[in-house]
């Protein structure tokens, strides 16, 4: 696996290597068995929890139950989603007779470096299976981009007025193009030559509005934030997207997607009033009866966020956009199943509140003695909670085929505050701002990007120290252990912000060291395979229970 060996040597573009992840489905029987098992276990736990005698301090109990029910909703949605199976026949390859279809390939860009953009444009021009026009939509109006496009043979499009951010840029380009199909590639996503050949096949069905493919992060190999972010992506573009596709509820993820122009035109193009234009676009298309498809093949290779500020910016945009879409989703004229999929995806971004509730409990218990549950021994709690929790984790492992990692979970947890701020902004209807996710790390420490997590860590540690200084009873130790659990998770997720290059460098070093020792065994390979949760919403927070 090509990892640069010498720090001094120029870093080869990781997007030019073959992806080492395949979104193969998990064994369906195992998944269904686990899902079936989860039902009685969830009943066993909640039946115990919701007994009237269990109420400790009522307000805290209410918060706990709310958080637990939210997690159950998310987890249940996850189990339901991942056990869905698409029974439609696989799309047949395109017939070879006749002229290949016309496709406009749009590559929107704003300020990304040329070395990021150029391989994408070059690879787009190499795509087979269609007559294509590649347009570089440069909202940055940069002469060097124009020169590059000209040199490679692509069309260069620059707007005078940059209204509507990425959505406006694409809409503008739609006006100046006319092919029946439109492919959208983010400027960092290098398509494979067969991208169009593979995505055009499902378009034979005239009802299909778009075909979405996975967003694979090639820089996940470098470790650090990119790997953790990919861990989240892998679960979404693996089990979750397959499940959504089975219910024809897959939504557009903004890149690596092929649209039918008529479908786009039927909803007036990309909505410019949302910062998650792709999500809202999908809702509108589904409302109008269009179908969507997900093609579980890595057909384009991109770059994930490499530093914490980029990750936070990306998450903030998604959280604000998806939470803002809850209202429209509820109002939309959609079948219940599709509506539920959208709701699960949007509501995922409320997980930060649940985590905040769980993190506050040990602090409150240590400082005041108040606790949510009463009349329950630890043994009782464990007997009811442990089977539910362990099986939920097993479900994540099986559904994600081991791709979901602790790093992905910790990164999401350390950014709980992003979701809280986003939900507050959505509640107060404060407009979000489209910010391009930087494609290259800043290469410096970014403590401010995780400042809230650091504050919570400090609070948990201070409460623990105070508790230990005053009383070292088993109950205090139990709450200190809970506090340490949260501290470890938060610190694991936040640590990359305190390292240069988002931790990538350190992990590279590790990989270099590990290679001769491990001999590339199965365990060693799985560490670079990445894993995880949701890019856009995992349809559930399967491991949220752990955030108690």
């Amino acid at each position: 696996m090509g990892v640069p060996v010498s720090r001094g040597s120029p870093d080869p573009d990781p997007r030019l290597r073959a992806p080492d992840w395949s979104p193969d489905p998990a064994p369906p029987r195992r998944l269904r068995l686990l899902a079936l098992l989860m039902v009685p276990l969830a009943l066993w736990y909640f039946g115990w929890l919701l007994q009237p005698g269990r109420v400790g301090v009522p307000a805290l109990f209410a918060l706990l139950v709310a958080a637990e029910l939210f997690n159950l909703f998310q987890a249940g949605g996850f189990w339901w989603t991942v056990t869905r199976r698409d029974r439609r026949p696989a799309p047949a390859p395109l017939a070879r007779e006749g002229a290949p279809p016309l496709v406009d390939v749009l590559v929107p860009t704003y300020d990304e470096p040329l070395e990021v953009l150029e391989p994408t444009v070059a690879a787009a021009l190499e795509m087979r299976g269609a007559r294509l026009v590649v347009s570089v939509l440069d909202d940055g109006c940069r002469p060097e981009v124009e020169a590059m496009a000209e040199r490679l043979g692509a069309r260069y499009v620059a707007r005078r007025e940059r209204a509507g951010a990425k959505a406006g840029n694409i809409n503008s380009a739609l006006l100046s193009t006319g092919s029946p199909f439109v492919a959208v590639l983010d400027c960092d996503h290098v398509p494979r030559p067969d991208f169009l050949a593979r995505t055009l096949a499902p378009m034979v069905d005239e009802k299909v509005a778009f075909v979405q493919t996975p967003q694979y992060y090639a820089n996940a190999r470098r470790g650090g934030i990119a790997a953790a972010a990919w861990a989240q992506q892998a679960l979404f573009f693996g089990a979750i997207s397959r499940g959504k596709d089975a219910d024809q509820a897959m939504f557009c993820c903004g890149t690596n997607v092929l649209f039918r122009r008529t479908a786009l035109e039927s909803v007036g193009g990309f909505p410019t009033d949302s910062i998650t234009e792709d999500f809202v676009l999908s809702v509108r298309m589904h409302e109008r009866g269009w179908e969507t498809r997900y093609l579980p093949e890595v057909l384009a290779v991109g770059l994930g966020p490499e530093d914490m500020a980029s990750y936070v910016s990306q998450q903030r945009r998604w959280a604000r956009g998806c939470l803002g879409a809850i209202g429209p989703v509820l109002k939309a004229r959609l079948p219940l199943r599709k509506r539920l999929h959208y709701l699960l995806s949007s509501a995922y971004f409320l997980s930060g509140w649940a985590l905040l509730v769980y993190m506050s409990f040990p602090v409150i218990r240590i400082l005041t003695g108040a606790q949510p549950i009463a009349a329950a021994s630890a043994d009782q709690f464990l007997v009811h909670f442990a089977p539910y929790f362990c099986t939920a984790l097993a479900m994540v492992v099986v559904a994600g085929r081991g791709a979901y990692t602790f790093g992905g979970f910790a990164l999401a947890a350390a950014n709980f505050w992003v979701q809280i701020l986003a939900s507050l902004a959505a509640l107060t209807r404060r407009a979000g701002r489209f910010v391009v996710t930087p494609k290259r790390g800043e290469g410096r420490r970014q403590p401010l990007a995780v400042a809230p997590a650091l504050v919570v860590i400090a609070a948990l540690l201070a409460a623990s120290a105070w508790g230990l200084a005053h009383q070292r009873s088993p109950s205090t130790l139990n709450n200190v252990a809970f506090a340490l659990l949260h501290v470890t998770v938060l610190a694991s997720g936040a640590r990359w912000a305190l390292m240069r290059d988002g931790g990538a460098e350190a992990e590279l070093e590790d990989e270099r060291e590990a290679r001769p020792r491990t001999g590339g065994g199965r365990e060693a390979r799985s560490r670079t395979g990445g894993g995880r949760e949701v890019e856009r919403h995992p349809g559930g927070d399967p491991v949220g229970e752990a955030r108690r």
Binding site: L382, F406, R472, L485, V489, D510, P516, G519, A524
Partner: protein, 975 residues
């Protein structure tokens, strides 16, 4: 003899000579340091006699302040030892910092003197302290760096001599102020000798000058590292003084003072090491570690033998007796700190900057633990022990895994190795011109690898004698040779060093033996039963086993033979267990290496050295240590057999499996897992390369048949035992130990307790309640397992841990007394392997791995110390102490009555020298002068009630003289 062999012999000879010289130097300076310490003690004793009690207390406070300033100043000595030239150049800077500090301290002393119990008369002496100690340590550091050890020793000795002479003379006339001036005069004398020594002896090499620029930062790192080490050494006493009650603080001050003496004795060792290590001289580190181990180990042994007398002599009175049992543990912490200082010095010299962070981390760990468990003198000491263990383990691991030739000397040595390898390669290529051409190219590339002085190193390369150095274990293989002049990025050195591995394993085995021997305890009930049975003729023993026992005869056969050979002393009785639990250390390495890699094997072996439960059963004349050893042998043989298909591994697996069954019946549970693994793995193998499924199946069937044949003779024996026990209404014997409030209850919490015992050993009920309350950390563990791969070895180990546990739990639902960790001890070594795998692969960086290993070892260390030395451990039965006490206080006419009746073998093993009888039998006649009543196993309410009844009766007839309490044993004396 070939040239290479001659060269090898020459190198070995040089190495030996270097080692001897290094040991001599260490001994010389350490001798001076010890003399200095003795001089200080004599000075204190003299002052105690010359001054009034109040004056002596004031001088003691002054000395404490002096020491407080002096300990951090040792960091300057570290910097000087690494780079004497830099120390010379920085003298002015040190003065510039220390003089204001002196003035500040003097001014502060004037202000807060009353609060510190000092008079103003000592303020001038105090004001000179920072400057004086800074200069003394700086100049001594230079002497270390220049390897002028005789002058260092002179300086060390001169200080107490002058202090004693001048101090006594002045104290007699001027009281405390005179004594304080004597201290300053002693410091000045040390400084004067050190100054005189400069320039007298210089052995610097040419390359040393060239490296000076690069050593600047290293010297700073050394100074910082030793400063943090001083913090680790001192912060516990500061914490204890600030937070503990008066009595507890005084107790900790007592053990801290003695521990401080142990550290003081080893203080010079790293500084003597540094110059030699800087030159990359082989044997220097070994000599330093050896000296530190001898001095530190000596202190530990001395306190093990005579903790209470030492405390009494040093501090008088009996108020320190409660802490005496903990003194060896604290001494161990100090001894470890001594080793850590040596390893840290070596790491600093090698340019390992992270060592500073490691020491800082240990300090933070210690501080955290102080807050967590530092509510008593023992708690504070445990925190220090944990931090010292963690630090030493981390540094040792760093050394084992990270040592690479970074010093100039070592690089020069490595250069020779490279050249040899290149020459060998050229030879292999038939001395073709292009092969030779790579030689100057590679040599020319060395400067790039070595730093920024190409011309110097090129010169060094050309001026070196053109001998072909013999290949060493560290020599890279052809595929590890430089490519285009660049050193390969990965570490080649540790991979090929079987000698290094053997050395580490040897040290581990020695440490394991030492730990298992040091942490001894009295025999308990079951062991006495073992002793009784082995006293019988063999055939009679087998009959007794068949008719009355519940265990298979394998272990007892071994013990019977051991007793015939070595007698029936405690050590002889426990010899098979000691052997098995020690052999477990290298066996875990073998298994870890086969199933994972070398690092995992080493870490697992290291865990086995300190794992509390392993140490516990190494000291018990029962079959559990054998159970653990055989389980590892069996799983290793099975794994190798499944991997290679070779007959010898199948044979070994069958034999070890049968031996397991002959050792303990519950070993059949993991054997079932092993047997089930064979067809599963064979099935998985069907579509893969390597050994064919068919071959595995055939091998597995034959091995299983052989195992069954070996176990078959046991079946009638076991059947008879079972029938006899059932007809006697006993079933399987219920455990008679206690160990926690959850005893004999099948619950998740009880399972957690069992798991805690398996990992962290046996502790008091209060400690167990606290440890079990940490169960939320298991949630963290579960989360951290997300995304981890699962190898065949891991699956096999997990199954071997959890399937027997589940089966035993299921059995326990019907027979709750089976819910006992010792019946599932085969899981312990498997858990150690899994733990080793986790800590060596989960962290993404070497630093993280070292830290995690250190934390794990520290946790084991704390668990071990608490298990062995905490008298509240409910599994510790001090029958030996009780019976010896009875023997000491009785005459042959007296009578000892005991309860429960099962203690008969113990009473026979530790004969109290008087008549013994079971409680409940005839009460002694009135003419018997004294009656002793001994009771244990208080949780047996029936027996306890009978004892109380007898005691009431005796109280009516006799006078209760005293009641003596021992661990889980009580004795009443009547007359």
């Amino acid at each position: 003899m070939p040239d290479s062999a001659l060269a090898l012999r020459r190198v070995a000879g040089n190495s030996l000579r270097t080692s001897r010289a290094a040991v001599r130097e260490q001994a010389l300076v350490a001798g001076g340091q010890i003399l200095s310490g003795v001089g200080n003690l004599v000075y204190a004793a003299a002052m105690a006699r010359i001054l009034t009690p109040g004056g002596f207390a004031e001088l003691a406070a002054f000395l404490a302040l002096f020491l407080l300033v002096a300990v951090p100043s040792l960091s300057l000595a570290a910097g000087g030892a690494l780079d004497p030239e830099l120390a010379r150049r920085r003298r002015g800077k040190v003065l510039a910092w220390s003089i204001p500090a002196s003035l500040g301290l003097g001014a502060l002393a004037v202000v807060i003197a009353p609060a510190l119990g000092l008079s103003l008369a000592t303020a001038p002496a105090l004001a000179t302290t920072p400057t004086l100690v800074a200069l003394v340590e700086l100049d001594r550091g230079r002497l270390y760096g220049e390897r002028a050890y005789d002058w260092v020793t002179g300086s060390l000795v001169a200080e107490p001599v002058v202090r004693l002479g001048v101090g006594c003379a002045l104290a007699a006339s001027f009281g405390v102020a005179g004594g304080a001036v004597g201290v300053v005069a002693g410091g000045l004398a040390g400084l004067a000798v050190a100054r005189l020594g400069h320039g007298q002896t210089r052995r610097r090499t040419g390359l040393e000058d060239e490296a000076r620029d690069r050593r600047g930062p290293a010297s700073k790192a050394a100074a910082l590292t030793f400063l943090f080490l001083a913090v680790v050494q001192c912060q516990d006493i500061v914490f204890a003084n600030a937070t503990l009650s008066g009595v507890e603080a005084a107790r900790f001050a007592a053990i801290s003072t003695l521990g401080g003496a142990a550290v003081f004795a080893t203080a010079t060792i790293p500084f003597v090491l540094m110059p030699r290590a800087r030159e990359g001289e082989p044997g220097a580190l070994g000599a330093a570690l050896g000296t530190a181990a001898v001095l530190g180990g000596g202190a530990v042994i001395a306190t093990l033998i005579a903790a209470e007398p030492i405390l009494t002599i040093a501090f008088g009175g009996g108020r320190f007796a409660p802490i005496a049992a903990f003194l060896p543990a604290y001494m161990l912490a100090m001894a470890l700190l001594g080793l850590a200082r040596v390893l840290a010095a070596d790491a600093v010299v090698r340019g390992v900057r992270r060592v500073t962070w490691m020491v800082l981390g240990a300090g933070a760990l210690q501080l955290g633990l102080l807050f967590a468990i530092g509510d008593s003198a023992a708690g504070v000491g445990l925190a220090t022990l944990a931090a010292a263990t963690a630090l030493t383990a981390a540094l040792a691991l760093e050394h084992a895994l990270g040592a690479r030739p970074r010093t100039l000397g070592a690089r020069r040595h490595a250069l020779g190795v490279w050249r040899h390898a290149l020459a060998t390669r050229a030879h292999a290529l038939g001395s073709r011109p292009q092969a030779l051409a790579t030689r100057p190219h590679a040599l020319g590339a060395r400067p790039q690898a070595l730093g920024s002085r190409p011309q110097t190193l090129a010169a060094a390369a050309t001026t070196e004698a053109p001998v072909v150095e013999p290949p060493t274990e560290d020599a890279p293989t052809a595929d590890q040779l430089p490519i285009n002049g660049h050193l390969p990025e990965h570490r080649w050195a540790p991979e090929a060093t079987w000698k290094r591995t053997a050395l580490i394993l040897g040290a581990m085995v020695l440490a394991a033996i030492g730990l298992r021997l040091l942490a001894g305890r009295s025999l308990w009930l079951d062991e006495a039963t073992s002793w009784y049975e082995t006293q019988l003729p063999f055939h009679r023993m087998m009959e007794v086993l068949r008719d009355t026992d519940v265990h298979p005869p394998g272990y007892f056969t071994v013990l019977w033979a051991t007793v015939r050979e070595f007698g029936d002393g405690e050590l002889a009785l426990r010899l098979p267990s000691l052997f098995a639990a020690t052999a477990l250390v290298p066996m875990l390495y073998v298994a870890g290496k086969a199933m994972y890699d070398r690092t995992t094997g080493l870490v697992a072996a290291g865990f086995a050295v300190v794992a509390p439960i392993v140490v516990w059963y190494a000291q018990e004349a029962r079959m559990y240590a054998q159970l653990m050893l055989l389980a590892v042998v069996a799983i290793w043989a099975l794994y190798r057999a499944l991997e290679s298909g070779r007959a010898r591994y199948w044979l070994l697996y069958a034999t070890a499996g049968a031996a397991l069954a002959w050792t303990h019946y519950f070993a059949l549970l993991p054997l079932l897992v092993f047997e089930a693994a064979i067809p599963v793995i064979a099935w998985q193998q069907r579509d893969r390369d390597g050994v064919s499924s068919r071959r595995l199946i055939v091998g597995g069937i034959l091995a299983s048949l052989l195992m069954a044949a070996l176990i078959a003779p046991l079946v009638p024996f076991a059947h008879h035992q079972f029938s006899v026990n059932q007809s006697a209404g006993k079933g399987f014997d219920a455990p008679s130990q206690v160990g926690g409030a959850v005893e004999n209850q099948v619950s998740l919490y009880a399972a957690l307790t069992n798991g805690t015992w398996a990992v962290f050993g046996y502790h008091s009920n209060a400690t167990m309640a606290n440890l079990t309350a940490l169960w939320p950390l298991l949630i963290l563990l579960a989360l951290m397992l997300l995304g981890r791969g699962r190898s065949r070895a891991t699956t096999l180990l997990l199954a071997a841990v959890f399937v027997p546990t589940a089966m035993l739990t299921a059995l326990s639902l019907d027979q709750p007394f089976l819910f006992e960790v010792r019946y599932n001890l085969t899981a312990v070594p498997f858990l150690l392997l899994l733990g080793a795998r986790a800590v060596t692969t989960w962290p993404h960086t070497a630093r993280g791995r070292a830290a995690l290993v250190a934390v794990a070892v520290a946790a084991f260390g704390v668990g071990l110390a608490d298990q062995q030395w905490n008298g509240a451990n409910p599994r510790t039965y001090d029958f030996e102490g009780a019976l010896h006490e009875v023997a000491a206080k009785s005459t042959p006419e007296d009578v000892l009555m005991y309860m429960p009746h099962d203690l008969n073998n113990l009473v026979a093993y530790y004969p109290p020298g008087l008549k013994v009888r079971r409680l409940g039998e005839n009460m002694p006649a009135a003419k018997v002068p004294r009656v002793f009543v001994m009771e244990s196993f208080f949780e047996d309410r029936e027996n306890d009630a009978a004892t109380r009844q007898a005691l009431v009766k005796l109280r009516g007839e006799r006078e209760l003289v005293r009641r003596m309490k021992f661990s889980q044993v009580e004795v009443w004396e009547f007359r």
